[in-house]
């Protein structure tokens, strides 16, 4: 447990000192949403919803891809000596989830400000965004760990990740419509939310089990 916190603290401290990822991704978020705004000022709610999740997907690839790339070989060896694989991956999962939550909320605010507001139930949608960003960041953290072992990082992550994330994205786009005023059958909404939480748990368990095999070289 203390190992996880130390590693997490190290990631956050590094971020605070270098301030490279955070502002880099922030700029990515802002500029892509601004381009969207220039392209289609105020879209209909279905288009809004689809664009929102696609932008989340790309933000996630960008924000998470760096997390394993920045660790040099020497540093990885050092972590190997002082901490376990499980601690390392859990710290990474937590840190990426935190970054992604922050980015998703910022992009939600920007979307609302620039692309209009089709949301009937803003707080419900915010909750869905939080669930979605957690799901995205967990899956892509695991994939970044895999892609870090092969050389072409970003493109490989997209190839591996998009098919895997499609089911979750479909579910997210489906439940997002609740925030836009669509009525659901009783129980259908909570079923889908539980399924998403279940998938998140599955990803975490798989990451903890499988990461030790990626880690030794």
């Amino acid at each position: 447990m203390p190992h996880i916190f130390t590693l997490l603290k190290k990631d956050i401290l590094l971020e605070l000192r270098q301030q490279y990822t955070f502002y880099g991704v922030l700029l990515y978020v802002a500029s892509s949403i601004f381009v969207l705004y220039l392209a289609i000022q105020q879209p209909e709610s279905d288009v809004w919803n689809g664009l929102f999740w696609i932008i989340q997907l790309f933000i996630c690839v960008n924000a998470v891809a760096k997390s394993f790339l920045q660790e040099t070989k020497g540093r990885m060896l050092y972590f190997y000596a002082i901490a376990g694989a499980q601690h390392f991956i859990i710290a990474k999962l937590l840190y990426n989830t935190f970054i992604m939550l922050l980015m998703s909320l910022i992009s939600l605010v920007l979307f609302r400000a620039l692309l209009g507001n089709p949301l009937v139930n803003f707080w419900q949608f915010t909750g869905i965004v939080c669930i979605g960003s957690v799901s995205l960041s967990l899956v892509f953290t695991m994939l970044a760990a895999i892609a870090a072992k092969a050389q072409q990082q970003a493109s490989l992550m997209a190839i591996m990740g998009f098919p895997i994330i499609i089911p979750q994205l479909l579910l997210l786009m489906r439940i997002s419509k609740a925030g836009m005023g669509e009525a659901f059958q009783a129980g259908a909404l909570s079923d889908m939310v539980w399924l998403l939480c279940g998938l998140d748990t599955l990803v975490m368990v798989m990451a903890v089990i499988l990461f030790p095999f990626l880690w030794k070289d």
Binding site: A150, P167, R174
Partner: protein, 222 residues
Amino acid sequence: MKISWWKILCIVLLTYVLLGGLLLEVPRKAILNETIRNIYFHVPMWFGMMALCGCSVYYSIRFLRKPDLLSDIKATSYASTGMLYGILGIVTGAVWANYTWGKPWSNDIKQIGAAIALLIYAAYFVLRNSITDIDKRARVGAVYNIFAFAMLLPALWIIPRMMESLHPGGMGNPGADPRDMDTRMRMIFWPAAVPGFILLGLWISNLITRLRKIEDKNLLHA
């Protein structure tokens, strides 16, 4: 040819499926008409694909537990045969859908699931080819294979039950419900078509594995 009982069984079963499936009586239904015979060929592809991909994951797990290049070769041969079955399943489904639903692709949730499965296995092979070190390739490939299969299962088994679908058995059992099928058809489908095509898949994978064993002889005995 190495003759063993299951290969003979496979030939016998598939001959029965081919002759019986095309010649024996089937119930006459509106819209479906004679295309109902496609059930002997389209549906077993999915059973076969799940079985073969399951074998592939089994060998990936075995590789991670005890690194042995032979397990890796087996995992990839099962995955490639599974992908072949997936492609055949999509093609047979598209031809069938063209006559019954009016167009080959209608974004049905099960069609999407099948496409996801194919993309995942295509990514598996791209990932493998991007790593040159043989041991590392096998290890990273095995990790992705297990992870992707675990993520694929809910997409194929849970989500189709929650969304509306054109396929029969939607909102309930996404597979074929044995009770729904006509007795005459059940006699071909369950005892012959499903095991026959699974055996054929195992046979093809077996041949690929043996071919790869010859190609990588120096690696395996090093």
